[in-house]
Subunit: 499 residues, 3 copies
């Protein structure tokens, strides 16, 4: 078949071909057969001496425990940290140093969960061992999507032609995104859904599914309507910690109409209810009576998580050698395309001019920052404290642009070489800032800073020092870490250049 997962990173479900998905589904079901025929430990020599680093910066019980169970049954071990106490332990150490430490302690692979989108891609880039995404921010949770496929495949004659209902909080969970993208690899999929506006499926996901993947997506007013049109209903819990502007009582009110109970199930008594778990017992988005009913398949789904992870770890680590620790970090990890250089040809007149504005003294060495939003200079000083730290700073406020007439700020810092972190912080405050690096009285470098627009992206966490990087995927430029498209900013930059 040519399918090979050895030492492969598992970051996003979207990287998998249909063939690969089917292969993993089959392997998971073989693991299930072993268990159900009483051979739980038949493969327990397979990963002997192999260690999985279990790096959970965010709470997890199910995902973490099932990886642990899977390693154990294959003869391997796990070590690492879990939950907020894990992050408090290490809040001052950046991800790069932390994950390297687990490789230095001879991990053969790592599974990681973190609150920031793209964080697991960063870890995978840093580490020479395979890394599995256990959930990154609002982004992805690929092994959940895989185990969902395993369960769906058990419950229907085949995934092609599936009618599936989605419910609960479709806006904030990473499960829905990963699940929908996984299903989109199959043919003739229809997603039926009903949810409050505040918890509706994101437009960009619907767009991707409909326009690029040929998935039918239909919204309904009531859960009962979705039930009637579906074989399987995939319920999700309100991600209360991620829903902004609503308190718990308000969220519960909004959900009231969309909760699953035995009365709603009357509209389709054959409906099979899935849920990635945990169910939120204060909201009770699934009523307790459903737990005891024949429509409940979410607990079987949880056990399938063990089989899927067992299959995946088997595929990634079986018959591999230990990857010896390498304490120097590959330079390609640090490589970034974070600077959008503006060459003379972009602006043939300006380059030599920036240091010669009549009303600020010319400097030998330092930086001039222009195209700053009007009035933003004070904010930059408050954050970065160049003056307070003793640098000679000249600010020009409310300078009218020669071209647009719009007011802008302008900043000159003498004898200062900006650090990458300082450049990033200025760009986060004023995204259109143009940096002019002055040496020997001349502008030797001129650029705008390319920063991912996704506010939850790992590249925007200053202390992590992840350099922005963008990959060409098809015709899109996408953030290398969170995979959000970048064209919008490029557009802005292009417009600015043209202005």
């Amino acid at each position: 078949m040519g399918i090979n997962f050895r030492n492969r990173d598992i970051i996003t479900i979207d990287d998998f071909s249909r063939q690969e998905l089917e292969y993993l589904i089959q392997k998971a079901q073989e693991m299930k057969k072993l268990e159900k025929s009483g051979q739980r430990y038949q493969l327990n020599k397979t990963l002997e001496g192999k260690k999985l680093a279990s790096l959970f910066y965010e709470n997890s019980t199910r995902t973490r425990t099932s990886f642990e169970t899977a390693m154990h049954e294959l003869g391997g071990t796990t070590f690492g940290f879990a939950g907020p106490e894990g992050t408090s332990l290490m809040k001052k150490e950046n991800i790069l140093a932390t994950v390297m430490m687990y490789w230095a302690n001879h991990a053969d692979a790592a599974v990681m969960r973190h609150s920031k989108d793209g964080s697991v891609q960063w870890a995978a880039d840093v580490l020479g061992i395979p890394v599995i995404n256990g959930g990154d921010g609002k982004n992805e949770h690929p092994t959940q999507a895989l185990l969902d496929l395993v369960t769906i495949d058990e419950l229907v004659p085949g995934i092609d032609g599936l009618n599936i209902g989605f419910g609960g909080d479709l806006a904030h969970g990473r499960t829905i995104r990963s699940n929908a993208l996984a299903l989109s690899k199959f043919n003739n999929i229809t997603i039926h859904w009903a949810a409050a506006d505040e918890l509706a499926m994101p437009e960009d996901l619907i767009d991707t599914l409909k326009k690029e993947r040929g998935v039918k997506v239909k919204r309904y007013d009531s859960v009962e309507d979705v039930f009637r049109n579906s074989n399987i209903y995939y319920m999700t819990r309100p991600q209360k910690e991620r829903i902004k502007g609503l308190n718990e009582a308000q969220i519960n009110d909004i959900l009231e109409k969309y909760k699953i109970d035995m009365h709603k199930i009357l509209s389709n008594p054959n409906i099979k209810i899935l849920h990635p778990m945990p169910v939120d017992s204060s909201t009770a988005e699934i009523d307790i009576t459903v737990f005891f009913s024949g429509n409940q398949y979410f607990i079987a789904q949880a056990e399938n998580g063990v089989f899927l992870r067992k299959a995946l770890l088997y595929e990634i680590l079986n018959e591999t050698d230990h990857i010896l620790f390498n304490s120097s970090i590959d330079e390609k990890v640090a490589a970034a395309n974070d600077k959008d250089y503006i060459t003379k040809s972009d602006d043939p007149n300006k380059k030599s001019d920036i240091n010669e504005k009549p009303y600020v003294g010319k400097i030998d060495y330092g930086v001039v920052i222009d195209h700053l939003e009007d009035g933003i200079t004070a904010e930059i000083e408050a954050k970065l404290q160049f003056s307070k730290r003793g640098y000679r700073v000249t600010s020009v406020l409310h300078e009218p642009s020669t071209k647009t007439g719009k007011l802008k700020d302008f900043l000159k810092i003498k004898d200062k070489l900006l650090t990458p972190r300082e450049i990033k912080e200025i760009a986060m405050i004023s995204p259109n800032a143009t940096f002019n690096i002055i040496k020997d009285r001349d502008v030797v470098e001129k650029f705008k800073y390319n920063l991912c627009k996704n506010e939850n992206c790992i590249t925007r966490v200053v202390n992590e020092d992840v350099p922005p990087k963008f990959d060409k995927i098809g015709k899109d430029l996408r953030c290398h870490y969170c995979r959000k498209p970048y064209e919008k900013l490029c557009q802005i930059i292009q417009n600015l250049k043209n202005s």
Copy 2:
């Protein structure tokens, strides 16, 4: 002997016969002999491949660690969670789903500790694998009682005829209850005790011991008097977190007179001091000098915990097959006798009348709740928000009872089917509420809700959705979970019916 613990739940010490207790004591002492003869790992093939889920919702070091040691020495493993971070991890997931998840991860048995009485019985009902109570609320801690017996049996010629002293906090700890019930299975036991009134032995326990079990229970004014009359003194720490209305300094003051030190020990230099540990080092209910003395047996007692748990796990799990996970929950778990139906014969006139009170409009479908305490209706609305959620609610306040003349409230909710959780919440606010379910303009069901009177019972935690259930034990009706007697409420209900 016919004694068999295979796959058996260990919930309460009271379930054990004297013969069974003696059997376990002997087995623990055999484990100790193995250790002391240098054969710590002689049985380390016994539980190979067996996993114990260690589910500690409350802090524990000793109990949890000794189960872990015991499994390890028998060749098995443990997994699970510990302490408040464990509960914070899962505070939104109910016990049912959480414990099922550990079975889905192929636990062969579970040990559980939780702050609520009866919680471990609930878990045991849900799970198909054996469950051991590691401490449930103020209720029981059976493996502690068993290891205490192992230690006592070492220190005296035989448990029959034992004179034991109890001290410290006899009111709030589960250890004292389990220990006393265990001793009551032996002959001619005398419990001597001295404690502050606030920390005195509970009257119901003394009653049970004296009247039903033939245990002599004698109170003294001073610890020295108890020492003089005892061979063994069982000290306990103040359960500060469970003592209401007193701050730490006040508790320490109260205990001052009852602390154990070498001076008090002069009154009986042969006294052997036990303590379930931990000793509270800020209170120092046992002075540090006692730790270094020959009267100290509480550290040996801690090691006996390992032997007892090793013996118990051996008895429960040796030569058993894995119990394969079953994702559907046995219906008998959901079965409850939470409704006390009131039939026409109870009240031949009323049944048809309830929907016909002259001053409220007759409804086709919904619920009428009467016998509500005077003025309680507002509290029900505040909690359950029927009006706010859009239901048509009619309240009648301060209605004089036709029989007693007492004022009562009365509530009619149109087009509403109460959920089990709503019924429980109303009954918790107004225990004598009578629910009249209306369909087609007629009362089709009429009942009071049977709720355990023990405020710390798991059935009273709304989000857990544990249905109240009562077992006939002897002539008593007892809560199936916390085992507290229920006759009192039945009496009240009977009185009401007769009123």
Copy 3:
């Protein structure tokens, strides 16, 4: 060679001879060779059945994890607790009882970290199994120093003649102290350093290194100057939690000039940067670009931690028998020289007089405390509440000393035998207090209480009940636990006796 570490405690680096250090360095490098030649698990039968108790009262990831990895690769296991949740779990149980519990659970050795100086020595005294110091307060971190030596030895032709730079926070970390003491065992060592005054090397350490150990210690104004004079630069993070009187922003300001970045490295492009890790990512005392550079050796250093700890555990535990648990605590542990007895010959007149001051009634039994600082009596009552607890207390305030004329307080407590804890608490409030124990109207014992002057010493934590003990080391009297010199107080006492 006669070097033998079997069952030996590892408390302070200063206990090792040069020969022993070299032996351990060599053994660690042999472990590294095994790993790098693909034989990670070649020794995995060595510690089969051996358990290491991992008792981390303070946060640790690196140290704890590397001990875990080392045990795992040698075929042993670890158990215990980690981080603040560990201490909160057990905050009420003293160290003595906690560590005994892990031995009762059949630990073969223990590694411990705690916030108090000398705490690990106390645990080692209590336990019959070998104990390794994983960091005690501001005191020592010997295995870090050992792994630093392993790394230094790799990077330079030999440790003799080493020029090493120290930077960052030299005042508050235990790493610098242990590292410098370790290096001082070698010949012709020069330590070059630059740091803010607030974070400067402690004078007492510089004194010891220069005067007693023949180490050259040179301070510079800039990091660049240190770089130019060194082969290796040992950077450390600001111990923000231990720096009093400065907030995080102020600490970052102070460090600004001393941070390591690629520009400073230009002053010596061959400099090899070490750091015990974690780097504080908010301060970024090492810039991210250095992580990717060829000057970075701190990640290799982290892996060396695994090899050092593997070698150390091998040396301590290989071919040893299990040390069976002994539940009685050796009396020598409780032995203390906490009382400085004042005999008649010290003061031939006074001894019989103390109970006969004309203005206080003579007592039959109790205690008289004099030499109390003027006005301190109220503070003692506030803390110890003798009156409130019902004792008859006579205070004499502002009594002029017959010799010095200085005002002092005087306290007589009838029918009270002070507990060791009470004596310690009084001495902590008023260090020169003299205790006169009265029995049968006569002074039967008269003493001052010897309390370690180090405020972070474990002996000063009242609830731990560690009895002060002082060892004669050379001509010094040093605290048995934190090893701080005691002569100063002895001097004071001598002066008082002579006054």
